[in-house]
């Protein structure tokens, strides 16, 4: 870094506002669509695991192992199939990471339904599946929203690594800044990623209040 280079060159930011906004939007889509798909897969899979508990451990082991693999390695492995600089190369692994986080949350949430509630539902005449979908799933919404917050924020953070395979959205700013020994884009990237994470997190907290107003005070307060 040159001695006369300031930490933040505001003019560069002012000149690249459109560019930054584009990267932020791309980043949001690349990070959050996988979480959404992960959720859509986690709920039915979680219901299946709750209905057949023997299924849960093997499935959890598979996803935990997937989660342990470094993102960079998987991105690189996918490049020959999905292409360099393609959104899919980044979004496919992110979907699996989200699923790995959301599946246990879903199952734990379904299991957290108080025994008295489960028994009452059975005694009212709910069958197994109907009870899972109509009673246990809605009462697990607070857990699910908690899991979504973790999954969304970690996905936003991990999407930046996609820059190494040519599709990192805001993550590209880090590589750019590093190669040019130019701190402004690095700092802009950090601030924008943090802001995006914060925005999504707040939105999810509000969504939880909207979807589960009965859980604002405490989870499962009615026992």
């Amino acid at each position: 870094m040159a001695d006369d280079e300031p930490l933040v060159r505001w003019k560069w930011i002012a000149d690249h506002l459109n560019y930054l906004a584009q990267l932020a939007l791309d980043h949001a889509v690349m990070a959050l669509v996988p979480v959404l798909i992960g959720l859509l897969l986690a709920v039915p899979l979680g219901l299946l695991c709750a209905r057949h508990p023997r299924l849960y451990q093997p499935v959890a082991v598979v996803f935990n192992t997937l989660y342990a693999l470094p993102a960079v390695a998987i991105f690189m492995l996918l490049v020959p199939y999905t292409g360099l600089g393609e959104a899919g190369t980044v979004m496919i692994p992110l979907t699996f990471y989200a699923l790995a986080l959301l599946l246990p949350t879903t199952v734990e949430g379904l299991r957290a339904t108080p025994e008295a509630v489960r028994q009452a539902a059975t005694a009212m005449g709910y069958g197994h599946w109907r009870r899972l979908v109509a009673v246990e799933l809605p009462s697990s919404v607070p857990y699910l929203m908690g899991g979504l917050r973790v999954a969304a924020v970690s996905s936003i953070s991990m999407a930046a690594v996609g820059a190494l395979v040519g599709r990192g959205a805001l993550g590209y700013l880090f590589i750019d800044g590093f190669q040019r020994t130019f701190t402004t884009p690095i700092l802009a990237g950090i601030v924008l990623i943090a802001a995006l994470a914060l925005l999504v997190d707040v939105a999810l907290v509000l969504a939880r209040r909207l979807l589960a107003p009965w859980a604002v005070r405490s989870q499962g307060a009615a026992q």
């Binding site: 108080p114 008295a116 509630v117 005694a123 009212m124 005449g125 709910y126 069958g127 009965w214 009615a222």
Partner: protein, 347 residues
Amino acid sequence: MIRFDGAAKRHPDGTVAVEGLDLDVPAGRITVLVGPSGCGKTTLLRMVNRMVEPTGGRVLLDGTDVAELDAAKLRRGIGYVIQQAGLFPHRKVIDNIATVPYLLGWDKKKARARAAELLDLVGLAPETAKRYPFQLSGGQQQRVGVARALAADPPVLLMDEPFSAVDPVVRAGLQEELLRLQSELNKTVLFVTHDIEEAVRLGDQVVVLREHGRIAQQADPHTLLTSPADEDVAGFLGRDRGLRGLGLRPATGIAIRPLADGTEHGGWELALDPAGRPVEWRHPAHPARPAIGFHPGTDTLRTALDAAVLSPAGAAVALDARGLATGTADRADVLAALTEHPVATGG
């Protein structure tokens, strides 16, 4: 009517919950199963709606073996109330109550109208409808639990220690409410409790169980209190069962001395307010003491005796429905009523 016909439950590990019980639960009455934990009372209750399948014998509901019925359909026709209410946390009170009507496929409007009726029936304010269970007290949650069990007007009601988790004052209120409801609805109620006091208070028939679901005694509460089958049952009933038995007998038999015959007892004079309500007992040499009354038509001998014991003059004040004094009964009058209706012996 519910009939247990040699109903038995043996767990896969070989332990026996219920050895084999024969019992008739008459229609339109409250039958209480009472016994220590481990006597199999909850197991028996759950055999009725097939939440437990007997490993021997049968349970008949109006002559049909419940094992032949579809479990979910059977359950929609049987009300079920449990200790912790088990309300659905994510549903508003009104929709909790309407659970079974929804399951039966009623349209939403009709189901909610029915739920609102029940809310009123169990003594909850209409604005409770829009609350969530966590916003209610324990006693209110239990009321909603009872309303939910009654929503589809099932002929049979199973109650598994429904009032055990609330404090004694609330519990007494809920018990009274159940008796009031039952006098209107005449359900076939099978009620499980470990609290003998509750059993005696609520049951038309009380079944005292020992371990493995063996019947120690099956009797109406009065017979149970006055003539326990053996030492074990007497021990389970606890102290003062004679006095507690008075709580089951009406005070109608007490001879009331009219006010016109004088309001003075042993130097104490009963003071009335202008309307005729009792105020206090007065004595020239002692400070005044409150006058305690009873309603001969609706109160029990226990209440009358209590009023007489608490009176410095040794006399309970008889009241009419408006709370006006109609006469007095001293301790001897009350005691005479005890022996005029001698308690049944043997049994």
